[in-house]
């Protein structure tokens, strides 16, 4: 009965805290190992990456990144010697393996496709989602609950089930393997998330703000634009990041509906092969470049994560 009175009687003891902390830290470290391994492999040379036992310490190399961005062909040593001096690091490493760079790989265009499709669909989904969420939040919409449930239920379809008719429809409309087709599809998938999340955020903004603005002579539209939107920026930003992450990570539609010009990075990365199998350092390099933006967004989003992953069902 001395110092402990300052704490609640039900606060966990310092001993139980220590044990809990140790277990959580151990779990976190183990669960992060596969990601560290991706990162480490991206800096290995191909022979190092398939060494047994797996190499934890190794001489870092950028060969994986070189291989990711280039295609190479095998040549005779005589031919390689007849070439002029190597231009740059990648050229030199490639020549050491008796190969020459034949040209750029498809990684960069696929990565750019990912950017275009992810940002395009996020913009559309958030734009449509904000309008609908405001509509559902502030107006008496007939059958509002049914409509909201309808919007959510479109997310329950297995992606392959959606892909079959979409595949046929896009073939008729000439949208197969186009960025526009993918943007439309991802917008449709993401808009359900956007409506549900944003409705939650807009519900939290007191109506009095708009009412005050409208009494001051704003029209409803102006009130929406000048008072609601600025208040909802955090919610809109969080929603946008969730949509962006979904579109960025999506694989099933991309794999089935795109094959060339509009292919995104997720179906492309597994196809990176070297001589005699998968070129793991190059795959790891592509994976690393692909994952880093998501890592940054996860840290930015950590306070809103719960809301985002439960469609706004759990808020705190």
């Amino acid at each position: 009965m001395s110092l402990t009175t300052a704490h609640s009687v039900v606060a966990p003891s310092s001993n139980s805290k220590r044990i809990a902390g140790a277990i959580i830290i151990a779990y976190a470290l183990i669960s992060i190992v596969p990601l560290l391994w991706i990162f480490a492999t991206s800096f290995k040379t191909p022979p190092d990456s398939i060494a047994y036992p797996p190499k934890i310490l190794f001489q870092p190399s950028l060969e994986g990144y070189c291989n990711l961005f280039t295609t190479r062909t095998r040549q005779t040593p005589e031919y390689i010697n007849s070439l002029g001096p190597a231009t740059g690091f990648c050229d030199e490493t490639t020549r050491k393996r008796n190969m020459v760079i034949a040209g750029p790989s498809n990684f960069l265009p696929r990565f750019v496709n990912s950017l275009i499709i992810a940002f395009g669909s996020t913009f559309c989904a958030v734009f449509l989602g904000t309008l609908s969420a405001y509509g559902f939040s502030r107006f008496k919409v007939p059958l509002a609950d049914d409509l909201l449930f309808f919007i959510l239920s479109t997310r329950m379809m297995p992606p392959i089930a959606v892909a079959i008719p979409i595949y046929l429809m896009y073939r008729e409309l000439g949208l197969s393997d186009t960025a526009l087709g993918m943007i439309l599809l991802y917008t449709a998938v993401n808009v359900s998330l956007a409506v549900w999340l944003l409705k939650g955020f807009i519900d939290e903004i007191p109506r009095e703000y708009e009412e005050a603005a409208m009494i001051d002579g704003y029209t409803r539209l102006q009130a929406f634009w000048r008072t609601v939107l600025p208040q909802a920026t955090t919610g809109i930003a969080a929603t946008a990041i969730f949509c962006l992450i979904f579109a960025w990570n999506e694989y099933a539609f991309a794999a089935l509906l795109t094959s060339g010009t509009a292919q995104t990075a997720p179906p492309f990365i597994p196809t990176i092969i070297g001589e005699g199998g998968q070129d793991w350092p190059a795959v790891a390099a592509g994976t690393t470049i692909f994952l880093v933006p998501i890592l940054v967004f996860t840290i930015l989003l950590r306070k809103q994560l719960l809301r985002g992953i439960t469609f706004g069902a759990v808020r705190k």
């Binding site: 902390g21 992060i32 309808f150 297995p158 089930a161 597994p270 994976t287």
Partner: protein, 315 residues
């Protein structure tokens, strides 16, 4: 003062006139705001769904668009319900969904319960634990193929380090009895944080005074856990199970890249079967019927489950 005047003016204006002055009516604005979303969903989700329903009654094949389409009635549905391979795929899916949910709930809840002790720097470690679930299941699942490699892979090496089984014997992806577990492990690794995060919200929603009252009544820690913690966190656990259940029932990307349904068809979950039927055998009508059955199953199960969830919530 100025506001007051404006308010008086606003109040004195007859409503129809006010509407006209303000431009578009609220009702019109509501529809203007909502209809683009509804139209988009009708075009990209509902129209294709009806198309799929129509196709499910035919023998249409997407790789032979010029062939005459025959109406088969319910024949596709009958064949699916009698197809042994489909039932095997459903069993594989059930095995996958059951074990992933069980493991994720047990581990996820335990982690949440430990984090709720609020040890020092728990926020940092929680964020770190959350990272895997934000990543692309396809891209990360693809990399797990490398970790699972029998000799050079880190997973096989770590297991053989602990168990002393030679690493060449740990054929996670090509052994018929291990392959179904290889996908369970990756899914559990990825999505345990998801369950953990929702459980944590559940634990934090329990007001402290209830524990204080239990403490006054000298209820043991064990008793407190079973009669306060677990029942009060149950709606949250059930919500997590609902979301994971729907997602894993649809599971495609991670499994497709990790095992592709193999070896043989040991990891062929429903979505993989659907893809093989629709985009490899090109039996469009048949696979549409299977897609409709799957959709009805998810939808029906989810609805029953939500009813149960609401009952638990009301208790």
């Amino acid at each position: 003062m100025l506001n007051r005047t404006a308010e008086n003016v606003a109040r004195a204006t007859p409503e129809p006139l006010a509407r006209k002055v303000r431009g578009i009516s609220d009702k019109g604005l509501a529809w203007l705001f909502i209809s683009p979303t509804i139209l988009l969903l009708l075009a990209i989700n509902i129209f294709p769904l009806f198309w799929a329903i129509y196709l499910s009654f035919t023998n249409y094949r997407a790789n032979r668009p010029n062939e005459v389409v025959k109406n088969l009635g319910l024949a596709n549905y009958q064949r699916i319900l009698g197809d042994k391979d489909i039932w095997i795929a459903m069993q594989t899916t059930a095995h996958f969904v059951f074990w992933t949910i069980l493991l994720q709930t047990l581990i996820g809840f335990t982690l949440a319960w430990l984090i709720d002790r609020k040890f020092r720097s728990h926020a940092f470690w929680t964020t770190l634990i959350l990272v895997p679930m934000m990543l692309s299941p396809a891209v990360v699942g693809n990399f797990w193929r490398f970790l699972y490699e029998p000799q050079i892979g880190l997973f096989a090496y770590a297991i053989s380090f602990v168990t002393r089984i030679p690493p060449t014997d740990i054929q996670m992806l090509s052994n018929v009895s291990l392959a179904p577990w290889s996908i369970v492990i990756v899914d559990t690794w990825m999505w345990t944080p998801y369950v953990m995060l929702i459980c944590l919200a559940g634990l934090r929603s329990i007001p402290e005074y209830i524990y204080e009252a239990a403490e006054v009544d000298r209820a043991s820690n064990w008793r407190q856990f079973w009669s306060i913690t677990l029942p009060m966190a149950l709606p949250f656990i059930m919500l997590a199970v609902l979301f994971r259940g729907i997602e894993n029932f649809k599971m495609f990307d991670m499994v497709n890249l990790l095992t592709g349904g193999g070896p043989g068809s040991t990891t062929e979950v429903a979505s993989i079967t659907l893809k093989r039927q629709a985009f490899e055998s090109w039996r469009t009508g048949y696979s549409s019927a299977f897609a409709i059955i799957l959709f009805v199953a998810v939808f029906g199960l989810a609805n029953i489950y939500v009813k149960a969830l609401n009952k638990v919530k009301q208790r």
